[in-house]
Every structure is written in C-alpha cells, then in structure tokens.
C-alpha cells in the first residue's frame, strides 16, 4: 500500500502507543463534536472550545484512562509471562521425557544435594535459628558467674566460664543491678515419686516463684508458686508438668489439691504448668516444680552455688551492659575481685556448643549441593551440543536470545524442581536419621522434622540451583548457535563449550577434593580418638547406677551397708569376675572435686582442686586401672584404722614432682590422710581430654554421694542384666536400679558428636566422589561421541587404540588435573577451619591429602577411561559410513 492512497473505512490500524491512546481518542471526540457544532453555525474556534468544555477536565480524564490502561497492561504481562512459563515447563518436560536417562541422573544428583542441604538446614533452623517459645525471647538472658582465674585449673576449668549462682549472687542481682526487669532461678534435680508403695525417679525443678513470670508463662490450671513459699521449710506445694499431668493423671482437672509423695515427703499440687515448658532445650519438660530455697543446704550460710538463672533484660539494655553491671554486683557482694559475670542470650547459651559443628555440616551440605549443580551443568552442556541446531533454528526463526535463555532456564529449573521433590522426600527420611544419630547434647533436636520452612528452603535451593547450573549452558548455547544453522555436521562451535566443560570438570573435582579431605580428616580423627587408651580396661565392664530418695544418701551407715552388701552379692553371681563400687566412675557423667594440700606446705587459695572418688576395695582391679606404686585399698582400710588415700599419676606429679607420694600425708576434707598408692590416670569424661589430678579414698572411711556399682564379667550384657537387677533390687526397698550400661557404650557415647560429624561428612564426601565419577564419565562419553568420526579416521589411518583413547580422555583429564591442583590449594587453606574439631591429626595431614589425591585421580582415570576405550575400539568402517 502506498502512503498516498487514503485508507478505506473500517480498515484495521496499528494501535498508538499505550500512553498516547487516550489523547488521540479525546482529540477525535473534540474534533467530531466541533464539526457538529460548526454545522449549527458556531465559529471554528468557538466550536472547539465548547466541545472541549463538554468533556470536562481533559487532563484528569486522560490521566484516569492512562492509569487504567497501565494496570491492564501489567496484568496482561503477568498472564503472558505465566503462560510462557507454563509453555516452557511443558516443553521442558516433553524434552526431559525424551531423555529419561539424562533426566533421572540430573534429578537424582540434585535430589542428593538438596536433600542433604534441606535436612541439615532443618536441624540448623530448629536448633539455632528458631527463637525460644517464650514471649520476647530475645530479651531473655542466662546469667552465670565467670571465674577467669580457674581457667588454668584442669579439674575445674569448666567452671571458669559458667558457674551457677549462689544465694549471695542472687541477692546481688536483686539489690545491686538495674539491668533486669525480672529474673528467675532454679535447680534441676531428680526425685523419687512414690505411688502405691512403688518408687520411680522423676525429673523435678526447684523453682523460684518469679520463674514463670520472667518467662511470660502462666499455669494452665491452678496457681503458680508464691514468693512466701521460697523459704526454709516452707509449705510443700508442687506444680505438675503438663506432660506428666496428661500421661500420669489423665489430664484430670481435679488434680489441684491432690497429694504426691516426692522423696518420701508429701506435696500438694497447686497448679499445672503449660505444655512443653522446658528450661533447657536438651532436656524434656520436668515432671514437677517445687519451691526453691526450702532445704537447709540452700540457705546462704552453706555458700552453695547451685542456681541456674534466667533474667529478662530491661528495654534498651544490651547483654554486654548487663554483664558489666552484674560483674560489679557479684564482686561487691562476694568481696572477690577475681569474679566476673557472663550474661548471654538464653538461646545462644543453650545452643552454643552445637553452633560450630552445625554450621560446619551446613557448609559441607552446601558444598555437596554445589557439586551436584556443577555436575548437572556439565551434563546439560554435553546435552546442549546436540541441541545446537534446534536452538540455531529457533534463533533464525526470530526468537530472541533472551527468550531462548529463559526457555533453557525454565528447563533447568524444571529439572531442579524435580530434583527438589525427590530431595524433599529424601530430606524427610534423612532428618529422621540425623536426629536419631545426634547426641542428645544438641538441644531440642529430638523434636525436629522437615516442615514448611525446610520445604521453602528446598524450593529456594532448587530455583537457585536451576539457574546456577542452567545459566552456563544456556549462555554458551545461544552464543554458539548464532549462525550455527548453516554449518553442516555436528557443531564445532563447541570449542568454547569444551573450554567451559574443562572449567566445570576442574570445579567439580576441586569441590569434591575439599569435601573428601574433610571426610577423611574426620574419619582419621575419629580413628585416633577411639584408639586412645582411657587408662583402664573398659571391655566386659558394666556400670550400674541406682536411684534412691535423698534420705538414703544422708544416711552414711545405711549407704555403706547397702553398697557392701551389693558388692558381696554381685561377686557371688555366676559369670561375674569381679564387682566393686565407687563414686563417679569414668564416663558416668558425674563429677565432684575438692582441694588437696600437702602436709607442711602453704597454699594461697586453699589448695588446687582435685577430682574425688570414694570407692570400695576392688575398684581399681575391676576397672583395670593400673597400680603404679604402693597398694590398692583392701578391707582393712576402714573406720578405726589409719586414714588413707590413693592419688592419681597426675596428682602425684603435681604435688610430689621429685619424690614418691607413697607414705606422705595430704590434707583433704578437713583430715590428714596417708598416701598408700599411686594409680594411673583415667580419662573420665572425654577421650580427647587428659584428666586432671584425682584422689581416691576408701568408702569405709568416707561415704560420699551417689555411688555406682561396677561389674566385670565376660558374659553378654543381655544375659546378665536380669540377674544383676534382681540381685540389687532386693537389698534395700528404697533403692532400685536406674540403669545398667556397658562401659564401652558409655565411652562411645562420649564421642557421639565426633562420630555423628564423621558419618555425615563422610557420607557427603562419598556422594561427592560418586557424583564426580558420574560427571566425568558423562563428559568423556559426550566427548567420545562428538569425536567418533575423527577417531574413526585416525584409527583408519593407523593410530593405535591406545593413542585414540588418550585423545578422547585428554580433554577431561586436563580439567581433572587443574581441579586436583585447585582442590589441593583450597583444601590446604580451608581445612584449617576444621582444626578445632580434629583430634590427633593435623588439618594439613599429608597422608589424608595424598589419599584423596590418589583416590580422585584413580576415579577420574577409570570414569573417563571406560567410555574413551570403548570409543577407540569402534570399527572405523562403520563409523565413517554413519552421519
């Protein structure tokens, strides 16, 4: 159509630009109206003015219409984008269905990465990120005494940072601080609950009246504890935990006023605690709360430090400021200038031990996911070679590069989401395993599961992963394909792609290297750890813990009689090779210490603290602790005979560095004792830590707190347990067996964290190695396919199959070599972060690095060698006929 020809009526025209449309429309309106008015005899100017006036405020009308138009436009764009997305996803699914092997491999790879990352994330989220279930939890802080001067003492160094408060410090909090709007304190303990004559242990909390208020919680039934109940011999009232109320009392609303017998003392239930109320994420809700400060030993004159404290910060006060003020208050109250205070966010305080290891695991899982992404990117890149022509055709047909990239990204994201779905299922299973594997020390872990937040995380991971591994091939493909349509044969524009391929191979190998180094380092560390000599022979030893009411432990003769009779009966059992009893045997979790001084020496601060154990004869021989010097205890070490003690190697070294300890006298618990023997050091809590000095005294001369039976027997524990239980249960009606555990299990529990880490990182490393081998196999296979013709020609021209194999492998192996070098460098630096978690192995352990290097190199050669060899064996005649 030429421009001069006037358009006929009704002809379709191009729409004017969106924002100009209404102006044109209004101009048309005015013109038409003016023409009409002019026909009635108005002048042209006048007619136009009237026509415009009839329309009212032109600018306002135009604005309103523009707004509507833009809104409509946006809406349409959204619909358009959505339909493009759906179209893209449909296209992607069709394509993926056509390559089921590729799809499955890619999806599984991503599923592994996302599954691992999601399950670790749900643990991290539940333990570290989610706030405590109290009102304004960020204002809640834990208050501890800090005693920096103790950090050097190996026995009680744990008290340097966190010591529980005593009555003096509580008074100081009340009278000398203004940082808190309130504080509550408690003692976590256990009691014997007697119902119908049978006793069983339950967890109890002796709580201050203020504790519930500080937490912002209320009893669901009845009332809370009252201030006037927190006094010596105050009224025996109790709150029952929601869980105990529902399970033991069937949620009976008539519970208020009921009587329960705790430690042979009647208590009246006055209220029911809210559901799931726990003062520490790691421990289940207590069965009962009783008023604190009611016992003699809690009175200020006993100077007992036993209270955990949680306080609520006033608005605008930081924990640091509160800490400063509190430290001053403690120093002023106790007159001890070495005292300090530790005021820490309550959630942090409960989880600080788990923090480092958990972030470590999250990092490892991120590494695995990244490896998965690189792997799929390689697979996609390989796949993209075969799509070059399709993409070129689409570009030639007018599809913009952006559109094609979008389409390819939709494809990769579809794979990723497919993987995420699988991964979510995997994560669900994995999280169960993780939580069951984890030690109970990770606070709150038992209540974890994969939830909406974790699923959101998985989807986020999938989208990022999809873009991440889709972007490289997409950009390469669109760049390579410009003009590729005209070329005949397989696109050799893939030179760029090949270089990228090498980079991806190198990245994957390097990342796998790092993860493998981590895994192997942990495994070697765990190996060293389990090989540590604990200082006694744990095999065939079982530890039997008892439960009894407080009255039993306050009755020394009754206790001694019980344990002597117990040992006598246990020794008589068939299959038992020896039995003894002692306070705080190794790995039992118990611990108590007191100062020891040497006769004739003066000390500044009352003497260095020493682990104390009150034991019955046979304790050392049953445990297998070697006697270094002197003798063990025997039946003659009793009341009436000379007070004696046995010290550990470490104690002997500390107190008698250049002489024999045997025959010397030490001052302990207000009495002089003659040292009759020196025994080997025993690792008592952790295999990683050498134990501090210890002193052993005969139980017949000094009866202490809860004591554990130890039995050596070559019989199977399961066979032995009923006999052990029935033997001990009949001696004193108030005392019953609480647990029977083999010593090796107790030791193994002490390094459950280390084992847990090793299993997880090891599994990740294994996955990584698998992914790397699959990736390398895939890449080489692609390379081989692409070069089939070339190889055929070379073989036809006389190249040996070996030479042809080399040719195919060379590309992959160059990437692998770069990756190994990169991985080595990165790991040498990165492994330092693991130092705190390693035992007996350096983060730069040459053996580890050598092993990983050898392993990855072997895997790479095998994974790329198989397809390369196959390609080189191809029949040249057949190959040349093809294509």
């Amino acid at each position: 159509m030429s421009a001069s020809e006037p358009p006929r009526d009704g002809q379709r025209l191009v729409r004017p630009p969106l924002d100009r449309e209404i102006d044109r429309e209004l101009a048309f309106h005015i013109e038409m109206r003016a023409r009409e008015l002019a026909a009635y005899g108005k002048s042209a100017d006048e007619a136009e003015r009237v026509a415009a006036a009839e329309l009212g405020d032109l600018a306002a009308v135009a604005d309103e219409c523009r707004t509507i138009n833009r809104r409509r436009e946006r809406q349409m764009n959204r619909v358009h984008a959505l339909s493009e997305l759906i179209h893209g996803a449909r296209f992607a699914l069709r394509l993926l269905r056509r390559h089921p092997g590729f799809t499955a491999l890619a999806a599984i790879t991503i599923a592994l990465g996302i599954g691992a990352a999601t399950s670790i994330f749900s643990v991290v989220d539940g333990v570290l990120l989610r706030p405590l279930p109290f009102a304004n939890p960020d204002r809640l802080v834990a208050v501890w005494i800090a005693q920096p001067s103790l950090a050097k003492d190996p026995v009680i160094e744990r008290l340097a940072e966190r010591t529980v408060l005593g009555a003096e410090e509580l008074a100081a909090l009340r009278d000398r601080t203004t940082a808190y709007s309130g504080y509550g304190y408690w003692i976590q303990s256990g009691s014997m609950l007697t119902t119908n004559g049978s006793a069983e242990p339950v967890t109890t909390v002796s709580a201050s009246a203020s504790l519930l208020d500080v937490l912002g919680e209320h009893t669901v039934l009845g009332r809370g504890l009252r201030l006037e109940e927190n006094v010596l011999d105050g009224p025996h009232v109790a709150l029952v935990g929601w869980e105990t109320w529902t399970s033991r009392f069937a949620g009976d609303s008539g519970i208020i006023g009921r009587r329960v017998d705790l430690d042979e003392t009647p208590y009246t239930i006055v209220g029911v605690l809210p559901r799931g109320l726990r003062l520490d994420r790691a421990t289940p809700p207590a069965a009962f709360w009783t008023p604190v400060m009611q016992s003699k030993y809690e009175q200020p004159q006993y100077h007992n430090r036993s209270y955990h404290v949680v306080a609520r910060l006033r608005a605008g006060i930081t924990p640091a400021a509160a800490e400063l003020q509190t430290a001053r208050a403690f120093r002023a109250a106790d007159g001890d200038t070495t005292l300090s205070a530790r005021v820490l966010d309550w959630q942090y305080d409960q989880t600080h031990e788990a923090r480092g290891p958990l972030y470590l695991l999250l990092g490892a899982s991120a590494l695995l996911l990244l490896i998965g992404c690189v792997n799929v990117a390689m697979l996609l890149l390989g796949e993209s070679a075969s799509r070059e022509r399709e993409v070129a055709a689409r570009i030639a047909l007018g599809a913009s590069r952006g559109r094609i990239v979008r389409q390819l990204l939709v494809e990769s994201t579809t794979i990723a989401l497919l993987g995420a779905t699988l991964g979510a299922v995997l994560a669900w299973t994995l999280t169960r395993t993780l939580t069951s594997l984890a030690s109970t020390r990770i606070a709150g872990i038992e209540s974890l599961g994969v939830d909406v937040r974790a699923l959101g995380f998985a989807i986020l991971c999938a989208t990022v992963a999809g873009v991440l591994f889709g972007l490289t091939p997409a950009l390469t493909l669109t760049r390579a394909s410009e003009g590729a349509l005209m070329r005949v044969g397989v696109g050799h524009s893939a030179r760029h792609g090949r270089r990228l391929q090498r980079w991806l191979v190198a990245t994957e190998v390097a990342l796998s290297f790092a993860l493998l180094v981590g895994g192997v380092l942990f495994a070697r560390s765990l190996d060293k750890l389990t090989a540590v000599d604990p200082g006694f022979r744990p095999q065939h030893v079982v530890a039997i813990k008892m439960v009894a009411p407080h009255s039993f432990y306050r009755d020394d003769p009754r206790m001694l009689a019980f344990y002597e009779e117990g040992v006598r009966r246990l020794s008589a059992l068939a299959g038992v090779n020896g039995a003894a009893a002692g306070q705080n045997p190794p790995f039992g979790g118990g611990w108590s210490s007191s100062p020891v001084t040497v006769e004739g020496r003066t000390y500044e601060h009352g003497g260095p603290s020493t682990d104390q154990h009150s034991v019955l004869p046979g304790y050392f021989s049953v445990l297998g602790v070697p006697i270094r010097e002197g003798r063990a205890f025997d039946a003659t070490d009793a009341t009436g005979s000379e007070l004696v003690a046995i010290v550990s190697d470490a104690a002997a070294r500390r107190d008698f560095p250049n002489e024999s300890a045997v025959g010397r006298r030490v001052f302990w618990q207000g009495q002089y004792r003659r040292v009759v023997g020196v025994v080997g050091d025993v690792r008592a809590a952790k295999l990683t830590r050498t134990t501090g000095p210890a002193i052993y005294v005969p139980m017949r001369q000094y009866v202490s707190g809860p004591t554990t039976f130890i039995v050596r027997s070559s019989l199977d524990l399961a066979a032995l347990t009923p006999a052990l239980r029935s033997t001990l249960d009949g001696i004193d009606p108030a005392v019953s067996v609480s647990s029977i555990e083999p010593m090796p299990a107790l030791i193994s529990r002490s390094y459950s964290d280390e084992r847990y880490r090793t299993i997880i990182v090891g599994a990740f490393a294994l996955f990584a190695a698998m992914l790397a081998s699959v990736g390398l196999y895939g890449v080489t296979l692609r390379a081989a396919t692409r070069r089939t013709r070339e190889i055929g020609i070379r073989v036809a021209l006389g190249a040996t199959p070996g030479r042809a194999t080399q040719l195919v492998m060379s590309d992959t192996l160059r990437g692998v070599a770069a990756g190994l070098v990169g991985g080595l460098a990165v790991s040498l630096v990165g492994a330092r972060a693991l130092e705190a978690y390693l035992y007996g192995v350096a983060p730069t352990d040459p053996l580890t690095f050598g092993a990983v290097l050898a392993l990855l190199a072997t895997v790479a050669i095998i994974a790329s060698g198989i397809p390369a060899r196959r390609a080189s064996r191809a029949n040249p005649a057949l190959v040349l006929k093809g294509d």
């Binding site: 025209l13 429309e25 309106h29 038409m32 306002a60 509507i68 138009n69």
Partner: protein
C-alpha cells in the same frame, strides 16, 4: 452522607449498562456512544462526557468490551469499541436486574389512583 457510596456505585453501574447497550448494534467509537446516549434519551440522560472514557477503559479492563483502532468517517483513525461475549452476558443479566429494580421502585412511587 450515609448510603452515598452505594448510590454512586449504582450510577456508575448505570452508565456502564447504558454504554454496553449502545454497543449491541455494533462497534462504535466514544463520540458516537456519547451522541447515541444523548439522542436515545432525548437528552434526559446527560452523560458527563468526561466520565465516558474512563468507563470505557474500565469495561475493557474487565473484559466486557474490546477495542480496535480502525478508520472511520472517511479515513479518520478512531478507536472502536465492541461488545465481547462476556459483555453481552453481563448486559443481559444487568438489564434484568435493573428492570426488576425499576419496576419495584415505580410501583412504590406510582400514586394509587
């Protein structure tokens, strides 16, 4: 003034209804819609012409009318509006409702003589 938004809505609804009605005979441009409304109602219904265009745009947004730029009136470019299937349905339903309403109001207001 209580009830004001409701009556305002009814007015706007009425304008929409009338506009849709004008399009039953075929596509028209905005000016012709304004003219037709004025003529058909013997100038009783003086549509505020300024509000006609936003009404048209809104109807288009709701999918009740579609628009197209075409030549008309001897080669002038004009934007023509046409009823969509949805618009036709809407018009039918609204018309019924309006008539019922009007009948009821009329019955009440009619002097019983």
């Amino acid at each position: 003034m209580p009830g004001a938004p409701g009556s305002r809505d009814r007015l706007r609804g009425t304008l929409d209804l009338l506009v849709l009605k004008t399009l039953t005979g075929g596509p028209r441009h905005g000016y012709s819609i304004a003219r037709w409304l004025a003529q058909e109602s013997d100038d009783t219904v003086r549509v505020e012409e300024g509000s006609l265009y936003p009404a048209l745009y809104r109807l288009e947004e709701r999918g009740l009318v579609s628009s197209e730029w075409r030549t008309s009136d001897g080669g002038r470019a004009a934007k023509l509006y046409a009823l969509t299937a949805l618009g036709r349905k809407h018009l039918r339903a609204e018309t019924d409702e309006w008539l019922t309403f009007a009948k009821a109001v009329t019955r009440i207001l009619q002097p019983q003589s």
